[in-house]
Protein backbone atom coordinates (compact mmCIF):
# COMPACT_ATOMS: atom_id res chain seq x y z
CA UNK A 1 0.00 0.00 0.00
CA UNK A 2 1.29 3.52 -0.84
CA UNK A 3 1.61 5.86 2.13
CA UNK A 4 -1.88 6.59 3.26
CA UNK A 5 -2.99 9.78 4.96
CA UNK A 6 -5.89 9.21 7.26
CA UNK A 7 -7.79 11.04 9.97
CA UNK A 8 -9.29 9.24 13.00
CA UNK A 9 -12.24 10.94 14.67
CA UNK A 10 -13.57 9.61 17.98
CA UNK A 11 -14.35 11.32 21.29
CA UNK A 12 -12.50 8.55 23.18
CA UNK A 13 -9.01 10.04 23.20
CA UNK A 14 -7.27 6.93 24.50
CA UNK A 15 -8.85 4.94 21.69
CA UNK A 16 -7.78 7.27 18.87
CA UNK A 17 -4.27 7.88 20.17
CA UNK A 18 -3.54 4.15 20.60
CA UNK A 19 -5.10 3.19 17.28
CA UNK A 20 -3.15 6.02 15.61
CA UNK A 21 0.08 4.65 17.08
CA UNK A 22 -0.70 1.16 15.77
CA UNK A 23 -1.49 2.47 12.29
CA UNK A 24 1.72 4.56 12.28
CA UNK A 25 3.67 1.37 13.08
CA UNK A 26 2.18 -0.01 9.86
CA UNK A 27 3.36 2.97 7.83
CA UNK A 28 0.01 4.76 7.68
CA UNK A 29 0.23 8.49 8.25
CA UNK A 30 -2.40 9.08 10.92
CA UNK A 31 -3.80 12.21 12.54
CA UNK A 32 -6.65 12.27 15.03
CA UNK A 33 -9.39 14.51 16.37
CA UNK A 34 -11.71 14.05 19.34
CA UNK A 35 -14.70 16.03 18.09
CA UNK A 36 -16.50 16.84 14.86
CA UNK A 37 -15.61 20.56 14.70
CA UNK A 38 -11.92 19.85 15.16
CA UNK A 39 -12.10 17.15 12.47
CA UNK A 40 -13.73 19.53 9.95
CA UNK A 41 -10.99 22.13 10.57
CA UNK A 42 -8.25 19.53 10.11
CA UNK A 43 -9.84 18.32 6.89
CA UNK A 44 -10.03 21.89 5.55
CA UNK A 45 -6.37 22.58 6.29
CA UNK A 46 -4.99 19.26 5.02
CA UNK A 47 -7.50 16.84 3.48
CA UNK A 48 -6.77 13.15 4.20
CA UNK A 49 -7.56 10.31 1.81
CA UNK A 50 -9.69 8.49 4.35
CA UNK A 51 -11.58 9.53 7.49
CA UNK A 52 -12.39 6.91 10.14
CA UNK A 53 -15.34 8.43 11.92
CA UNK A 54 -17.23 7.42 15.07
CA UNK A 55 -21.00 7.75 14.67
CA UNK A 56 -21.79 8.46 18.32
CA UNK A 57 -20.05 11.64 19.41
CA UNK A 58 -21.18 14.50 21.59
CA UNK A 59 -21.62 17.84 19.85
CA UNK A 60 -21.40 17.47 16.09
CA UNK A 61 -22.39 13.84 15.57
CA UNK A 62 -20.68 11.49 13.14
CA UNK A 63 -23.45 11.56 10.54
CA UNK A 64 -23.45 15.38 10.46
CA UNK A 65 -19.65 15.38 10.05
CA UNK A 66 -20.07 12.84 7.23
CA UNK A 67 -22.58 15.09 5.43
CA UNK A 68 -20.21 18.06 5.64
CA UNK A 69 -17.24 16.04 4.41
CA UNK A 70 -19.18 14.69 1.45
CA UNK A 71 -20.53 18.15 0.58
CA UNK A 72 -17.07 19.78 0.56
CA UNK A 73 -14.75 16.87 -0.28
CA UNK A 74 -16.66 14.10 -2.06
CA UNK A 75 -13.36 12.38 -2.97
CA UNK A 76 -12.58 11.61 0.70
CA UNK A 77 -13.60 8.10 1.72
CA UNK A 78 -15.32 7.82 5.08
CA UNK A 79 -15.44 4.60 7.11
CA UNK A 80 -17.83 4.79 10.06
CA UNK A 81 -17.36 3.21 13.47
CA UNK A 82 -20.49 2.06 15.25
CA UNK A 83 -21.52 0.17 18.36
CA UNK A 84 -23.59 -2.97 17.73
CA UNK A 85 -26.75 -1.18 18.71
CA UNK A 86 -26.21 1.56 16.18
CA UNK A 87 -25.91 -0.56 13.02
CA UNK A 88 -28.86 1.46 11.77
CA UNK A 89 -26.68 4.58 11.80
CA UNK A 90 -24.04 2.69 9.81
CA UNK A 91 -26.58 1.86 7.11
CA UNK A 92 -27.91 5.43 7.10
CA UNK A 93 -24.29 6.61 6.83
CA UNK A 94 -23.71 4.46 3.75
CA UNK A 95 -26.76 6.05 2.14
CA UNK A 96 -25.14 9.41 2.90
CA UNK A 97 -21.99 8.37 1.08
CA UNK A 98 -19.86 6.51 3.65
CA UNK A 99 -17.72 3.78 2.07
CA UNK A 100 -18.55 1.27 4.80
CA UNK A 101 -18.93 0.85 8.54
CA UNK A 102 -17.17 -1.25 11.16
CA UNK A 103 -18.14 -2.34 14.66
CA UNK A 104 -16.23 -1.45 17.81
CA UNK A 105 -14.06 -3.01 19.24
CA UNK A 106 -12.15 -2.97 15.95
CA UNK A 107 -10.09 -5.61 14.27
CA UNK A 108 -7.13 -3.60 12.96
CA UNK A 109 -6.51 -5.99 10.06
CA UNK A 110 -10.12 -5.62 8.98
CA UNK A 111 -9.80 -1.83 9.17
CA UNK A 112 -6.69 -1.88 6.98
CA UNK A 113 -8.39 -4.20 4.49
CA UNK A 114 -11.37 -1.85 4.37
CA UNK A 115 -9.08 1.14 3.79
CA UNK A 116 -7.32 -0.68 0.93
CA UNK A 117 -10.68 -1.45 -0.64
CA UNK A 118 -11.69 2.20 -0.32
CA UNK A 119 -8.50 3.41 -2.02
CA UNK A 120 -8.91 0.86 -4.83
CA UNK A 121 -12.50 1.99 -5.39
CA UNK A 122 -11.34 5.56 -6.08
CA UNK A 123 -12.48 6.47 -9.60
Amino acid sequence: MNILKILLVDDEEEFVTTLAERLELRGIQTRWATDGEEAIQMIESDPPQIVILDVMMPGLGGLEVLKRIKAQHPQIHVILLTGHGSTKEGIVGMRLGAFDYLMKPLDIEELIKKMQEAIKSRP
Binding site: F15, T18, E21, H84, G85, P105, L106, I108
Partner: protein, 223 residues
Protein backbone atom coordinates in the same frame (compact mmCIF):
# COMPACT_ATOMS: atom_id res chain seq x y z
CA UNK B 1 -50.80 -1.54 34.34
CA UNK B 2 -49.35 -3.22 31.24
CA UNK B 3 -48.84 0.20 29.64
CA UNK B 4 -46.99 1.35 32.76
CA UNK B 5 -44.83 -1.81 32.70
CA UNK B 6 -44.01 -1.22 29.03
CA UNK B 7 -42.74 2.27 29.88
CA UNK B 8 -40.61 0.87 32.68
CA UNK B 9 -39.18 -1.84 30.41
CA UNK B 10 -38.43 0.76 27.72
CA UNK B 11 -36.66 2.94 30.30
CA UNK B 12 -34.67 -0.02 31.59
CA UNK B 13 -33.70 -0.97 28.03
CA UNK B 14 -32.66 2.56 27.11
CA UNK B 15 -30.37 2.93 30.12
CA UNK B 16 -28.87 -0.55 29.66
CA UNK B 17 -28.26 0.01 25.93
CA UNK B 18 -26.48 3.28 26.73
CA UNK B 19 -24.14 1.55 29.13
CA UNK B 20 -23.39 -1.27 26.69
CA UNK B 21 -22.11 1.41 24.29
CA UNK B 22 -19.82 2.66 27.04
CA UNK B 23 -18.58 -0.86 27.77
CA UNK B 24 -17.87 -1.34 24.03
CA UNK B 25 -15.73 1.81 24.12
CA UNK B 26 -13.82 0.49 27.12
CA UNK B 27 -13.27 -2.86 25.39
CA UNK B 28 -12.10 -1.02 22.26
CA UNK B 29 -9.48 0.90 24.27
CA UNK B 30 -8.26 -2.27 26.03
CA UNK B 31 -8.11 -4.07 22.67
CA UNK B 32 -6.06 -1.33 21.01
CA UNK B 33 -3.76 -1.04 24.03
CA UNK B 34 -3.06 -4.77 24.15
CA UNK B 35 -2.82 -4.75 20.34
CA UNK B 36 -0.13 -2.09 20.57
CA UNK B 37 1.83 -4.25 23.00
CA UNK B 38 1.51 -7.15 20.54
CA UNK B 39 2.75 -4.93 17.71
CA UNK B 40 5.78 -3.91 19.77
CA UNK B 41 6.47 -7.57 20.58
CA UNK B 42 6.23 -8.43 16.90
CA UNK B 43 8.78 -5.79 15.83
CA UNK B 44 11.15 -6.93 18.56
CA UNK B 45 10.58 -10.61 17.86
CA UNK B 46 14.31 -11.45 17.80
CA UNK B 47 15.10 -9.68 21.05
CA UNK B 48 14.89 -11.80 24.17
CA UNK B 49 13.80 -10.35 27.49
CA UNK B 50 12.95 -11.98 30.83
CA UNK B 51 9.52 -13.64 31.04
CA UNK B 52 8.72 -12.97 27.37
CA UNK B 53 6.55 -16.11 27.14
CA UNK B 54 4.53 -15.12 30.20
CA UNK B 55 4.07 -11.69 28.69
CA UNK B 56 2.76 -13.22 25.44
CA UNK B 57 0.46 -15.62 27.32
CA UNK B 58 -1.02 -12.78 29.35
CA UNK B 59 -1.65 -10.75 26.23
CA UNK B 60 -3.40 -13.69 24.66
CA UNK B 61 -5.56 -14.09 27.75
CA UNK B 62 -6.50 -10.41 27.62
CA UNK B 63 -7.51 -10.71 23.96
CA UNK B 64 -9.65 -13.79 24.69
CA UNK B 65 -11.41 -11.99 27.53
CA UNK B 66 -12.02 -8.94 25.31
CA UNK B 67 -13.71 -11.27 22.82
CA UNK B 68 -15.78 -12.80 25.64
CA UNK B 69 -16.74 -9.36 26.92
CA UNK B 70 -17.62 -8.24 23.41
CA UNK B 71 -19.91 -11.26 22.84
CA UNK B 72 -21.70 -10.68 26.15
CA UNK B 73 -22.07 -6.95 25.52
CA UNK B 74 -23.39 -7.56 22.00
CA UNK B 75 -26.14 -9.85 23.29
CA UNK B 76 -26.93 -7.56 26.20
CA UNK B 77 -27.16 -4.63 23.79
CA UNK B 78 -29.50 -6.59 21.53
CA UNK B 79 -31.62 -7.52 24.52
CA UNK B 80 -31.68 -3.92 25.76
CA UNK B 81 -32.90 -2.75 22.36
CA UNK B 82 -35.72 -5.36 22.37
CA UNK B 83 -38.38 -2.95 23.71
CA UNK B 84 -37.50 -0.25 21.11
CA UNK B 85 -40.14 -1.53 18.71
CA UNK B 86 -42.94 -3.64 20.11
CA UNK B 87 -44.71 -5.41 18.56
CA UNK B 88 -42.28 -6.05 15.73
CA UNK B 89 -41.34 -8.83 13.32
CA UNK B 90 -38.79 -11.26 14.71
CA UNK B 91 -37.24 -14.50 13.51
CA UNK B 92 -37.90 -17.36 15.93
CA UNK B 93 -34.53 -18.93 15.01
CA UNK B 94 -32.73 -15.74 16.09
CA UNK B 95 -34.84 -15.43 19.24
CA UNK B 96 -33.93 -18.99 20.27
CA UNK B 97 -30.21 -18.26 19.76
CA UNK B 98 -30.48 -15.02 21.72
CA UNK B 99 -32.27 -16.62 24.70
CA UNK B 100 -29.78 -19.48 24.77
CA UNK B 101 -27.02 -16.91 25.15
CA UNK B 102 -28.96 -15.09 27.89
CA UNK B 103 -29.59 -18.32 29.83
CA UNK B 104 -26.14 -19.77 29.20
CA UNK B 105 -24.74 -18.77 32.61
CA UNK B 106 -27.66 -20.28 34.55
CA UNK B 107 -27.41 -23.52 32.62
CA UNK B 108 -23.65 -23.73 33.12
CA UNK B 109 -24.16 -23.69 36.90
CA UNK B 110 -26.00 -27.01 36.51
CA UNK B 111 -23.71 -28.41 33.80
CA UNK B 112 -26.60 -28.33 31.36
CA UNK B 113 -25.98 -27.75 27.64
CA UNK B 114 -28.32 -25.32 25.94
CA UNK B 115 -28.66 -26.02 22.25
CA UNK B 116 -30.60 -24.42 19.40
CA UNK B 117 -31.97 -26.61 16.67
CA UNK B 118 -32.95 -23.94 14.14
CA UNK B 119 -35.54 -24.44 11.44
CA UNK B 120 -34.06 -24.59 7.95
CA UNK B 121 -35.68 -21.25 7.07
CA UNK B 122 -36.51 -18.08 8.97
CA UNK B 123 -39.78 -18.19 10.90
CA UNK B 124 -41.03 -14.63 11.06
CA UNK B 125 -43.73 -13.59 13.51
CA UNK B 126 -44.97 -10.21 14.60
CA UNK B 127 -44.84 -10.21 18.38
CA UNK B 128 -43.56 -8.53 21.54
CA UNK B 129 -39.84 -9.43 21.63
CA UNK B 130 -39.33 -8.88 25.38
CA UNK B 131 -42.31 -11.05 26.37
CA UNK B 132 -41.28 -13.76 23.91
CA UNK B 133 -37.72 -13.85 25.28
CA UNK B 134 -39.18 -13.98 28.79
CA UNK B 135 -41.41 -16.94 27.84
CA UNK B 136 -38.49 -18.87 26.32
CA UNK B 137 -36.30 -18.04 29.31
CA UNK B 138 -39.03 -19.19 31.73
CA UNK B 139 -39.31 -22.47 29.83
CA UNK B 140 -35.59 -23.07 30.26
CA UNK B 141 -35.80 -22.12 33.95
CA UNK B 142 -38.63 -24.60 34.53
CA UNK B 143 -36.37 -27.42 33.36
CA UNK B 144 -33.30 -26.07 35.18
CA UNK B 145 -35.26 -25.90 38.46
CA UNK B 146 -35.84 -29.62 38.34
CA UNK B 147 -32.43 -30.74 37.07
CA UNK B 148 -29.80 -31.75 39.58
CA UNK B 149 -26.96 -31.71 37.09
CA UNK B 150 -26.21 -32.50 33.45
CA UNK B 151 -28.30 -33.16 30.37
CA UNK B 152 -29.31 -30.99 27.47
CA UNK B 153 -32.11 -28.50 26.81
CA UNK B 154 -32.93 -28.05 23.14
CA UNK B 155 -34.89 -25.15 21.64
CA UNK B 156 -36.39 -26.02 18.28
CA UNK B 157 -38.36 -23.36 16.40
CA UNK B 158 -40.58 -24.90 13.76
CA UNK B 159 -43.28 -23.93 11.32
CA UNK B 160 -45.77 -26.75 11.01
CA UNK B 161 -48.51 -25.96 8.50
CA UNK B 162 -49.59 -22.49 9.69
CA UNK B 163 -48.44 -22.94 13.25
CA UNK B 164 -45.41 -21.09 14.61
CA UNK B 165 -43.94 -23.22 17.34
CA UNK B 166 -40.95 -23.40 19.64
CA UNK B 167 -40.43 -26.82 21.17
CA UNK B 168 -38.29 -26.77 24.31
CA UNK B 169 -37.31 -30.19 25.44
CA UNK B 170 -35.05 -31.65 28.05
CA UNK B 171 -32.88 -34.50 26.88
CA UNK B 172 -31.55 -36.55 29.76
CA UNK B 173 -28.33 -38.43 29.27
CA UNK B 174 -29.70 -41.60 30.94
CA UNK B 175 -33.37 -42.52 30.66
CA UNK B 176 -33.44 -43.36 34.35
CA UNK B 177 -36.67 -42.60 36.22
CA UNK B 178 -34.72 -40.81 38.94
CA UNK B 179 -33.59 -38.31 36.31
CA UNK B 180 -37.10 -37.45 35.24
CA UNK B 181 -38.14 -34.10 36.69
CA UNK B 182 -41.52 -33.54 38.36
CA UNK B 183 -44.47 -32.49 36.23
CA UNK B 184 -43.79 -29.21 34.48
CA UNK B 185 -47.22 -27.79 35.25
CA UNK B 186 -46.51 -28.07 38.99
CA UNK B 187 -43.64 -25.60 38.65
CA UNK B 188 -44.17 -22.21 40.28
CA UNK B 189 -43.03 -20.62 37.02
CA UNK B 190 -45.69 -22.39 34.94
CA UNK B 191 -48.32 -19.74 35.74
CA UNK B 192 -45.96 -16.94 34.72
CA UNK B 193 -45.26 -18.76 31.46
CA UNK B 194 -48.98 -19.14 30.80
CA UNK B 195 -49.53 -15.43 31.47
CA UNK B 196 -46.67 -14.45 29.15
CA UNK B 197 -48.07 -16.64 26.37
CA UNK B 198 -51.59 -15.24 26.88
CA UNK B 199 -50.14 -11.73 26.51
CA UNK B 200 -48.51 -12.87 23.25
CA UNK B 201 -51.82 -14.25 21.99
CA UNK B 202 -50.38 -17.76 21.94
CA UNK B 203 -50.47 -20.80 24.11
CA UNK B 204 -48.25 -23.17 26.03
CA UNK B 205 -48.65 -26.92 26.35
CA UNK B 206 -46.81 -29.78 27.93
CA UNK B 207 -47.13 -33.33 26.72
CA UNK B 208 -47.26 -34.84 30.20
CA UNK B 209 -43.82 -36.47 29.97
CA UNK B 210 -42.31 -33.59 31.98
CA UNK B 211 -39.64 -33.36 29.30
CA UNK B 212 -41.28 -31.08 26.77
CA UNK B 213 -42.83 -27.63 26.57
CA UNK B 214 -44.47 -26.49 23.37
CA UNK B 215 -45.23 -22.83 22.82
CA UNK B 216 -47.15 -21.63 19.82
CA UNK B 217 -47.54 -18.11 18.54
CA UNK B 218 -49.83 -16.39 16.08
CA UNK B 219 -48.15 -15.15 12.89
CA UNK B 220 -49.10 -11.67 13.99
CA UNK B 221 -50.15 -10.48 17.43
CA UNK B 222 -52.62 -8.13 15.69
CA UNK B 223 -54.64 -11.08 14.43
Amino acid sequence: MIEHNEKEVAFFGKITAGFTHEIKNILAIIKESSGLLEDILAVTEDEAFPHKDKFKKSLNRILNQIQRGDDITTHLNKFAHSPDHSPTRVDLNEMAEQVIFLAHRLARLKNVDLVASPHDASIMVKTHPVALQMALFLSIEIFLDSITSGGKIILSPRKVRNKHIVRIHHEVAMPDVSHIPPAISSSTRWKSLQEAMAYLGGMVETDGTALEILISLPESIDE
